[in-house]
Amino acid sequence: MQEKQPHITLEQLKQGSDKVLKQVYEENRAKFLNWARRYHLSEEENIDIYQDAYVIFYDNIMSGKVERFTSSISTYLFGIGKYLIFSQMKKNKKTIRSEFDLALVGEEDEVTASFEMEEQELTTEQSLLQKHFGTLGAKCQELLTLFYYRGFTIQEIMQLENYNSENVVKAAKSRCMKTLRERIKTNAI
């Protein structure tokens, strides 16, 4: 028997260490794939869907849609997985049998009801920003990621990255944003 790993908290997952991400991936994988097999998609499609469900789940956590876990992680993954499986079945033009109908609402649908299930396509501006963001120094990328993705406040960044004061963080952030704007401008000309 495998020893049960300690329970993963929302905070641990938000910190996003590879160890925790992998633990969650491994712990829910077999359960998810066994459940997904009833829809008769290929194993490759099921694995791809499991990974996409994981990415969507994580994205919704990071954008503040999940403030605390009201169900187990697998319930969230099943809710998203169900949506993705039906989308895939429609793409494959497979008939959805009545017992698997989308109208059947379970706990997994309720906990993911407010989730964004589709990844938004990047706009032209966003693609340009992403391209130039990648050319910034590692420090800038990290600072902006902490601020805009992880939702850290200036004070939290100061403590985490050992800056001397909040003003130093603000100044660094302004410089990064200025560089980014300048690079986009140069590119646009």
């Binding site: 020893e3 590879d18 991936y25 996409d52 503040g64 706009t123 406040t153």
Partner: protein, 248 residues
């Protein structure tokens, strides 16, 4: 008129879903009346979307990597009914007896050759060493040493991990390190412990325990261990079948 700082805070709160009703009212007002505010907000919102998209792409590649590790390094184990656990414990007792008998059957250096052909270090799939990770821990040091081939340090560090923090997989990697250092008796004890507890890496432990038996010239025990491995697990199926044939 809100100050520059207030405006920055409004945008920040919007982006992190934290606007109060009052702030939302002010935010919407500014969006309609202040062109600079609107431009700054659009820029930051787009930047957030771009970073979010990049993070999602990075996460997906990470998951593909985890999947690859699972399918390549750790072949799926067969699902076993629980009585197997007891059957295996009984087998260990039989193995110990047969092992002693088999030990009398010591023979030539071809066992060494078989060992060398089959022994391949088990990669670290248990503990993730994150690049740039500042977290210092004995376990991290141990696995850094293991991955770098410094098995003496790996053994030293693994033995220092406090029992309360010791993960199930540590004994397996400790046994691996002992194998590298030629401490086969220590490795054998550890594999026996893992098998007895039917812990993580039990299948792998049968395989490596069989190799240790080979190294010790204990053919009969090696055969028994390979048979259990083939009967109960999928791990190293082909290699174990070939090796068993060579020994019989």
């Amino acid at each position: 008129m809100p100050s520059k700082m207030d405006k920055e805070l409004l945008i920040q709160h919007y982006l992190s879903n934290q606007l109060t009703d009052e702030q939302r009212r002010l935010f919407n007002q500014l969006l309609a009346s202040d062109a600079d505010f609107k431009e700054q907000f659009e820029f930051e919102k787009n930047l957030q979307g771009a970073i979010r998209n990049k993070q999602n792409i990075d996460l997906k590649s990470k998951l593909i990597g985890f999947e690859k590790e699972i399918t390549e390094d750790i072949p799926a184990k067969q699902i076993r009914p629980s009585y197997r656990k007891w059957a295996m414990a009984a087998s260990i007792a039989v193995m110990a007896t047969l092992g002693w008998l088999g030990y009398t059957n010591l023979s030539g250096p071809n066992f060494d050759a078989l060992y060398d052909t089959n022994f391949q270090e088990y990669p670290n799939t248990a503990y993730t060493i994150t690049r740039g990770d500042n977290q210092e821990s004995i376990e991290r040091d141990a696995f850094v040493a293991y991955e770098s081939g410094n098995y003496e340090i790996a053994v030293e560090k693994m033995q220092q991990i406090p029992l309360s923090q010791k993960e199930e997989y540590v004994d397996f990697y400790l046994a691996q390190s002992h194998m590298h250092l030629g401490n086969h008796a220590r490795a054998k004890d550890l594999f026996g412990k893992i098998i007895k507890g039917n812990a993580k890496f039990a299948a792998e432990s049968y395989w490596y325990a069989a190799l240790v038996s080979l190294k010790e010239g204990d053919k009969q025990t090696a055969i028994e261990q390979l048979r259990i491995l083939l009967d109960s697990y999928d791990y190293q199926k082909e290699k174990a079948t070939t090796l068993l044939k060579e020994l019989q």
